[in-house]
Structure formats: structure tokens, C-alpha cells
Symmetry: C2
């Protein structure tokens, strides 16, 4: 028997430690994957890929105590050497190599040139070789940015008094769009995969006042576009005791401000690698659905074909309008038509053909749907009846309302879409670790 007493100090150093001023001239131990080898004859540059970035190592014949010809790209190694300042090296330092120990070796050469600055290959190939293609520094950086977004969401909401919840993804049924749900057999009972934590987060507003969840949602929609996935990560929150749906937009704006600051402070390396200019979030315009439809139609001479919904081209034009008129990257579109919103959406008492709801568009694409919900039990029942819905399977959801619910509302943000627009990609698969679409179920 031995005792484990907590994390140990590793004998090897990470990039941040190597870059500290007082490291120059010191002998260090470093591990990493051999990203690339540039053999110049008597001298060779061995670039190691580490989690924080690249480290240039210099092999010198006669000085370094290992054989260069035995070293393969994609091997993982541990080296010892002396830290030297070097303006031309990736992070301003390089390591003059002494010894090198191979930790593991590849069995075959790489199928993609991941050490190139831009991975010059098709999206299809990138996705087929996902565990390889992500070893490219730029490809990898997108998912660090994605991490920052999720961190920002959670840390901001903790600060605002929200409680994190974990709701089940397998369910008996759902009142929302049954046709778009994946079905499975659950111990000989029919079950579905949840397309949103909507009902659960609403029920939990009656318990914690404010809740959030970051997790997978499943949509069996037969879309095959650049913006749709059949499984994605949804950033959801729901908050009680709101004065109106404006409180939700204010909270989302607060999240975006908090997150941009976090990215700037803690993900500057990745922002630089990807050449990202962070969007302005100080003030986000909010404009009515019917109003912006008209404004866009007039300015860009485009006929309104569907008065109840926004076509992708319209979303794009609304963003263009917001940029041109208000210098805004984000724009809230409010008061969506009731017939296009789910039964639980609260209607505008001023005009019940519209709801107290909104979408948030970011650089031409919807990334959020949100709104105030009906909290009164009888009102909810009446709305369900009006839509021809039965209470079957919704007893628990309804019981929360039967026994008192505060005024509340919430929203859901598509993580991959937000990442995509932030890093400047035009296909949501580029910012999905392992996308699931109609034709892709692997890797």
C-alpha cells in the first residue's frame, strides 16, 4: 500500500514555462510530438508540437547525442537541451538539443501534411481523418476558441446566480415536433432522443430560479446544408422572475461581453493564429421582425415572400443591414410570428399574432432562439388545446405549472454555429469536432 497525495510536479516543462525570461541558458526536459523535421545537413530543426504551441529544437551534429536519421515525423519524444532566445523561432525561443528519447513511433507516414500552416485539403478529407487533421495548429485552435465560449457561458452564468443542471437525453416523448426526433427502443418501450432540454429547464426554474445546461441535442431533420447538424452542442439557459423578454436579451449580451473579454485575455494565442477580430458586443441592436423585414426588403429591393419566417438569404441581409446602418455584428430580431413559435411561447398582449420572443443573428446566421414562456397553467392548457395537443406524456411538465411557476424565459445557443461565425468559417462542420449529418456517422 502507498498513499497518493495529489498532482506531482512533472519533470518536463510546458511552453509557457520555457518562455519565461529566466529560462535562457538553462538545461530543460521537454516532451512533445515531432511536428516537422527540417534537415539542413549538419544542423536540423525539429519542431515539437505541444498543447500550448510549437517549440523549435535544434539538432547539431556532434553536439546532439542521438541519431537524426532514426527520428520520424509524428513520433512522440522527450528531449533534453538548453533554452536559447531566438527571434525567428515560433515563440521566441529554441532548444539546443542534447539527448532525445523516443516515446512512441508512427507505423506509417502521415496521410495529410498537418505541419503546413494552412491544411490544404477538402473538408471531406479533414473530417475523414479527424484525429490527424486536428493536429494542424490552425485546425486545433478553432476548438480552443470553442472551449473559451463554453467556459465564458458557464462562468458568466454562475456569477449571475444560475445553477447548472444535467437533464436526460433519452425521453418518453416530446410535444415539440415529434417528426424531427430520433427514435430508439428503450427496453421494449418506444423512446426518443431529446431535441432540446426545453421542458426540463423550465421545470427546474420552479426549483432553482435560474438554470443552465451545456450538452448535446439531437435533431432528425433531413437537412443537408452548411448550417445544419443532426447532433450539436446547445448552450441553454432559463431564468425566472423576469420583467420581460428584454431581460433575456440583456443576459445574452452580458454573456457575449464576458466571453469576448475572456477570449481576449486567455485565448489570445489562438485568436492570433486564426487572425480573428472579435466582434463588437457593447451594444447590440434589437429590431422587430416585421420592421426589419420591411427595412431589408426596401433597402435591398427584395420582395418579401414568406411573411412568417426568415429565409437564410434574409438573415444574411439583416446582418448586412445591421452592419451598414448600426455598425453591428450581432442583431436581435424580436417579436416572431406566433404561428412559427412553439406552443409555450408567450404571445404579445398588444398583438397575439406575434410572440415575446427573439432570435440573435451573428454575421448573417441565426445562432440563438429565445423568448418568454407562458407561465400560467390555464393559459398553457388553453394554448395546447388551441393547437390540438393532448396532455398525454406531458403530465409532469404541466404539473410544474399547476403548482406555480414564476414568469420566465430562456434561450438556446448553437455552440458550433457561434464558433463558426466567430472564427470565420462558412460550414458548421469546420467547427464541430466529430460532425453528425445525414451522411456522416463516423468517425
Amino acid at each position: 500500500m502507498e498513499f497518493v497525495t495529489g498532482t506531482k510536479q512533472a519533470g518536463t516543462l510546458e511552453l509557457g514555462e520555457l518562455m519565461q525570461k529566466d529560462m535562457t541558458g538553462r538545461e530543460v526536459r521537454v516532451n512533445g510530438a515531432v511536428h516537422t523535421i527540417r534537415d539542413m545537413g549538419n544542423i536540423a530543426f525539429i519542431i515539437l508540437r505541444k498543447r500550448e504551441g510549437l517549440v523549435q529544437c535544434v539538432y547539431e551534429e556532434g553536439v546532439s547525442k542521438f541519431s537524426l536519421k532514426d527520428l520520424k515525423e509524428a513520433a512522440t519524444v522527450e528531449v533534453t537541451g538548453v533554452v536559447v532566445e531566438s527571434e525567428k523561432a515560433p515563440n521566441g525561443i529554441e532548444i539546443r538539443l542534447g539527448e532525445l528519447k523516443v516515446l512512441s513511433e508512427p507505423a506509417e507516414p502521415m496521410p495529410l501534411a498537418v505541419s503546413k500552416w494552412k491544411l490544404n485539403t477538402s473538408l471531406e478529407a479533414k473530417l475523414n481523418y479527424r484525429p490527424i487533421s486536428l493536429r494542424n495548429i490552425r485546425e486545433r485552435a478553432k476548438f480552443k476558441i470553442q472551449e473559451g465560449i463554453v467556459r465564458g457561458f458557464r462562468d458568466f452564468l454562475y456569477r449571475e446566480g444560475f445553477t447548472e443542471i444535467h437533464t436526460p437525453k433519452i425521453g418518453a416523448r416530446s410535444a415539440e415536433g415529434g417528426a424531427n426526433m430520433f427514435r430508439l427502443d428503450y427496453f421494449h418501450r418506444p423512446a426518443v432522443l431529446q431535441q432540446s432540454p426545453q421542458f426540463y429547464k423550465q421545470m427546474m426554474v420552479g426549483v432553482f430560479d435560474r438554470v443552465f445546461e451545456t450538452g448535446p441535442v439531437f435533431r432528425a431533420e433531413k437537412h443537408n446544408t452548411k448550417r445544419h447538424l443532426n447532433e450539436y452542442t446547445s448552450l441553454d439557459f432559463e431564468m425566472g422572475y423576469i420583467d420581460g423578454f428584454e431581460d433575456l436579451m440583456a443576459m445574452e449580451t452580458g454573456f457575449l461581453q464576458f466571453t469576448m473579454k475572456l477570449l481576449k485575455e486567455e485565448y489570445s494565442k489562438e485568436l492570433k493564429i486564426l487572425g480573428i477580430e472579435l466582434p463588437q458586443t457593447e451594444k447590440i441592436p434589437a429590431v422587430r421582425f416585421d420592421e426589419i423585414k420591411k427595412l431589408v426588403s426596401e433597402k435591398y429591393e427584395r420582395k418579401i415572400r414568406n411573411p412568417f419566417d426568415l429565409e437564410p438569404e434574409e438573415e444574411s441581409l439583416i446582418s448586412r443591414y445591421a452592419k451598414e446602418e448600426w455598425d453591428a455584428d450581432f442583431v436581435f430580431v424580436t417579436h416572431y410570428p406566433t404561428k412559427k413559435r412553439p406552443f409555450y411561447a408567450m404571445e404579445d398582449p398588444q398583438d397575439p399574432t406575434y410572440t415575446l420572443s427573439f432570435d440573435l443573428l451573428f454575421r448573417g446566421m441565426e445562432i440563438t432562439t429565445g423568448g418568454q414562456r407562458i407561465h400560467d397553467y390555464s393559459q398553457l392548457l388553453a394554448k395546447m388545446e388551441k393547437r390540438g395537443m393532448t396532455e398525454e406524456g406531458m403530465e409532469q411538465y404541466l404539473s410544474a405549472f399547476k403548482h406555480g411557476m414564476p414568469p420566465h424565459g430562456g434561450l438556446g445557443i448553437g455552440l458550433e454555429r457561434l464558433t463558426m461565425k466567430l472564427v470565420g468559417e462558412d460550414n458548421v462542420r469546420e467547427t464541430t469536432l466529430f460532425p453528425r449529418d445525414m451522411s456522416r456517422l463516423e468517425p
Copy 2:
């Protein structure tokens, strides 16, 4: 068009704000759910439930400007009143009520007495009425503790250089235990729900060196016990460049130390409500599987029936042994038999009938399985062949190894089990927000 500029200052106060010293004597606005009403005649105590706890409000006939008889338990309200110190009140203060505005009303009386200190009802009833039963302060507190555990896991791992990933839950197939997977139809192709992010996190070690995920996993196991769920939240990490599996146990110990500190500092209210004494995590004993089996068998005079696995009773006795002999709440059991571990587990070079792996037991129950993995491609292929496995469907997983992977390992922690043992429950459903088991698919 209007601009949204970020979170607004709410006009109403939360409990923490009300409890500040300089609030005494001030008039405040507060909202909340009417947890209970105690009518004493000319005076009445109205307890409001807020997200941070309970607030006692005092109605005085003639002074308060509303009619008490119209007020119902479970209504949500907004009140104005003056803050007064009060030793007997739940958090040392009470509000002498002026006005009260009803925000929403229940349609029926509560089915459970949630305002009682202990909710005196069966687990079955609690789960059937989940959105109601969780309004009980003690029931709710368990899930705040659960939040703290997940926060601790993430915050600790961010600090240790891990990257958070989001891997798909729908997959084509999996090499691990196909019989225990839920099957679904994915656009006319057979698919399964992932029972672990194992393969994905391993592949991502080749990209980010260290990764973690907190998300749902699905097990179609036909267990109906107090410790099994068919869907649960798994806290997973995987780390590269390890010197041995001891590094993983050290990292887990670091997580536990970090999290207990976080709970103590930021969840003290909930710890107090539940009467939780935090376990000791300074040093956790680690003992070999074969050794502890023998020790326990001798000390408690229990015959070893299955030399390859631990029976639940044995887990319980091992924890008892660790408590009695080493004053430990946690105990690592290392070197599990190879035949009981998956193909990717690394065998002990000293004796290949055992693996470089471990479980962590906490107060009598396994809450973690982890270990070092095979990182060499040919070794992995050989092991698969030995087990009669084909490469079909595993091409991408294997390609990560074919193209070089560092020595690595990882673990998975069952969130609901860890919460259960921490708060002192004996059924994992008590610490699962909406449990899924063989007979429960709702709510």
C-alpha cells in the same frame, strides 16, 4: 430599433444582498415563491423560497397593505418591506411586509409537503413529482453540491492544461460491449448511443495532449440496482505523456482536493443544510487488487469467490478496511485482472495477467475506472486480434495510433455516484435529476 447593452441591475434583491449588514432598516423589493404561510392571527409568517435560500417575511394586519387570505402557498410574488434583524429567522433577517404583488398563482394545492425540513415520502413519489419534490430545500441542495463537483472537475483540469471537448453521442458502432448499447435508426442506418467517450478522448490526446469531457453516457445494461443508471453523467479525462498510471491517480487526487476546497468555500450553505462532513483527501491509499482481496478476506473471514472481479460486498469491505486501517474514505484499487479490462488497457509488463489500471472506491462504492492505455499501434492490433476483434468500424480510432500517439491514460467518474456518496444517500436515483432506469423513462 433599440440597443441592448448588457445585464441590467434588477430592482429586486437576492438573499446575499439582504444579509449585508447595512441593509437593516432599509426598504427593499424582493421576489420569490411562497414556500409556506404560518398564520398566527394578527400576524403571519410568509416564507419565501429564493435560489439562495429562505427569506422570512412578516405580515402584520393593519400595517401590510394586502389581504393575507388571498395569498396561496406556491404562488410567486414580489414584495416590498423593511429589513429587520431577527435571530430566529432562517438567515438572521426578516422583512416586515408593506406591499405584495402576486406574479403567478398555483391552480391546485401541492401534492407533497415540500416546505417540511425532510421530505417524508417514498423515492418513487419523489421521482414521479420531480419538479415539485425538488422545491424542498434539502432535495434541492443535493444538486447544488453536484454542480460544485462538476465545477471543481472542470476548473481544476483547465488549470492543469486540459482542453474541454464535445464528442458525439450517436455513433456507428463501438468495439466495447455491443450488447450493452442502445440502438437507433439513423436515417436508415444502424447506429448506437455511446456508452463512453473513450475512443474520442483517446484520439484527441494526439491533438491536445490532455482533454476532458463532462456529458451523458448511455448503458443498456439490464441492471435494476441502487447503483445503476441507464443514462448518467460521466466526468472523463485522458492525458498524454504520462510516466505511468500513477500520474492518473495523482491527477484524480488533485481534483478531489481542489473540489473539496471549492465545496467548503462556495457551497457551505448546502453542506450545512445536508449536514455533510467532507471526506479526507490529503492522502488516498492505493493498494493492489490481489493484495486487498486477500487482506479483506482474511480480516473479515470472507471466502474469495471470484478472483477476477470485485463483488459489491467486497467493495464495501475494502472501504471498511481502508477506513479502519488507514482512516481513509477513498481507496484506489490497482492492477485489475487483464481479462476483466477492455482490449485497450495496458498490461503490466511484470505480469500480463494484470493491467496498469485502477478503480477508485468511495465509502464502499466504485466511482471511477481508469488506467493506462496501449499507445503502440502494433501492440493494439495484436491485442485486438487476440480478443478476436475485427478492425471494421474502428479505422479512425486505429489511424490515430498508426500515426503516432504518446503514452497516455485516463479515467471516467460517475457524477451521480460521487454525489450520492458525498451527500450520504444510498440510492443513486436520489442524486440524479431525472433518472433513467429499466422502468423509468419519465418525467
